[in-house]
Symmetry: C2
Subunit: 372 residues, 2 copies
């Protein structure tokens, strides 16, 4: 009897600071514009995937978060087919043989899925990376990113650590802008506002925007390329103020496009709005941009800042949005909270904000996928 | 002793269906783009203004909603100065003399001010119209609209009944598109969501958008003129579906521009969002666009429909957004409510929608300002 081959890997989530919204090719998942993201560390949030193969398996199977996934999922099939194609061209006869075996995939996200926390990004990046390891392929990360893209567009960015740009031009792959250790002062807080699933998924939402939003066309043609250039510069120069302003403006413009879609798409809720208002008030008190927010297709906030700001902002954020003890509210990397004082005491919570953020995960910029 | 001269007039509010947002001249109040509005009847909502003058008055005074207004308000002064200028050029010697007297203005809105219900529009239209009556001027409405514009941009549109277009080109006046009796089937429900004042006023908000929103520039240059043309056609042809779609798309685009502003402007709230979602669901059940929403710089919704739809939509709206008896919930023109049935029963309220709309005012398309 032939022994089952198996590999287990983990992959990070990534947060877009220049957003991807809209495809020029639905099947190949070619984006309307370039995007830039930050890969988060896998200390707390990650997808973990085990891929196994054996000639006795009778069909490809997938278990996602302990539930049987659909084998007919075209995106899963696309990724699997593409990696198998690579393996079948290997010079190693064993790899070629193994690529014919059916696989069993078990994948798990340790964070709310389909709530705007990029679960499909880490998920498909992990799937492709794990399959590549299973077959012992030495394909480079950029090429793997193109395969992960077939599962979920933003998954291609999770194939690298640090700061990553997804280029829309052929071969439509992600490339690093700067590695994970480039800007060690940068960190973020992920505020989990709601774990409700989205009402309109990203795929359907971005199609609707492409079809109906006049503002999206303008964004794609005239706005994004300048912002991509400016964002790359801000990252390379570690210019936090520029990075933060571009991040906030681009998040807002993405949600503006959603609102300009017909019928309109609402991904942010009143808590998201309260987070935005708090960040602007906080920055105003600081008389400098110290914190930036960004929201994907969901209500959760991702807040970027430099580590020197964590203790002060974390304390303010905790006092406004939670009644839980700090030890329960904050997860991920630990940091010392300061006491809220001076003008920051004016940033009061009210009945509608208190308790509206469930918990916060503190993260650093992190590495790409790896063996578990 | 010379007797005091006095006139009392009322003026309507107007609801923009192609929105005005942004000025090319802050002082003269020249808009970045044309806009189109519908004037509402004055059965329930109106501004009522009394202007009095007497040579013994020692200063110009204004009382707004029972509170002393600022005499230094530049917009009030501009309107007053412009009407006096007209009066001082009159062939009637008495008018010329009266234009030198100080005036006492008492003005009242019978609806929430500064909550996106266009209180300044009806207010300044009424001020200018009443002053013109006080001096017995026979100036035509278009010319008066240019004077009202100096008080509040959208006030120029309240100088006419029916359907009105404000032209940005010199002399920057409003002109009727169609009179109030043109489309007698059209009516609207004004849903008062909140009577809180706006956090960022329109004047400051539109300046911030002009300064920072890249999407506003595109809207002004490439979107609005086509929509103005299409909206005029829809009105002249009484094409409700076209009218409704343009109205909703333009409301959404205006709020998208607000979100693209930096820092972003939020005028709608979670109740506004629930209204939008209800309208789209309702239209989907009807398999035709039967109701349209529009939101100005506030959370209140204005819902347009044809009168044949009032009984059914009113009943659904009432069941979703209120626990009050219908007799308390609906104000303005009365209409018979139907029973909610069939698929409309699925449009359920929940804890967050129930009670979130305070009351609803039913209106027809109405006339311009007139003597009270």
């Amino acid at each position: 009897m032939i022994e089952t081959i198996s590999q287990t890997c983990i992959a990070p989530i990534n947060i877009a600071v220049i957003k991807y919204w809209g495809k020029s090719d639905e099947d190949l998942i070619i984006p309307l514009n370039d995007s830039i993201s930050v890969t988060l560390d896998t200390n707390y949030m990650f997808t973990k995937t085990t891929a196994s193969a054996n000639p006795s398996f009778t069909e490809d199977t997938i278990i996602l978060n302990n539930e049987e996934g659909s084998k007919d999922n075209i995106r899963f099939i696309n990724c699997l087919t593409e990696v198998r194609k690579l393996a079948s061209c290997s010079k190693n006869a064993q790899t070629v043989e193994q690529s014919k075996w059916k696989v069993a995939i078990v994948s798990e996200n340790n964070f709310p899925t389909k709530a705007g926390l990029a679960s499909s990004a880490s998920g498909y990046a992990c799937l492709v990376f794990t399959l590549a390891k299973l077959y012992g392929l030495d394909t480079d990360s950029s090429e793997l990113s193109a395969l992960a893209r077939r599962g979920s567009g933003s998954a291609c960015r999770s194939m690298f650590g640090g700061f990553v740009r997804w280029h829309k031009e052929e071969p439509c792959i992600a490339k690093p802008v700067a590695p994970s250790n480039h800007w060690p002062e940068l960190c973020c807080l992920v505020a989990v506002v709601s774990n409700r699933s989205k009402t309109v998924g990203s795929t359907e939402g971005m199609k609707r925007s492409s079809d109906t939003s006049l503002l999206l066309q303008h964004r794609v043609k005239n706005v994004v390329s300048l912002r991509i250039k400016a964002m790359e510069e801000a990252i390379l120069q570690k210019d936090f103020v520029k990075f933060a302003e571009l991040t906030m403006q681009d998040s807002n413009q993405f949600h503006a496009v959603c609102l300009d879609t017909y019928p309109p798409l609402f991904y942010m809720n009143s808590t998201s709005q309260a987070v935005i208002e708090l960040v602007h008030q906080y920055n105003e008190i600081c008389q400098q941009v110290k914190v930036a927010y960004t929201f994907d297709a969901g209500s959760n906030a991702v807040l970027f800042m430099e580590k020197s700001e964590l203790g002060r902002f974390g304390a303010v954020f905790h006092s406004v949005f939670s009644s839980l003890p700090a030890s329960e509210f904050f997860k991920g990397s630990s940091f010392p909270l300061e006491q809220v004082k001076d003008q920051f005491l004016d940033l009061k919570s009210n009945d509608s904000t208190k308790g509206s953020v469930q918990y916060v995960i503190s993260c650093d910029v992190g590495e790409g996928p790896k063996l578990a």
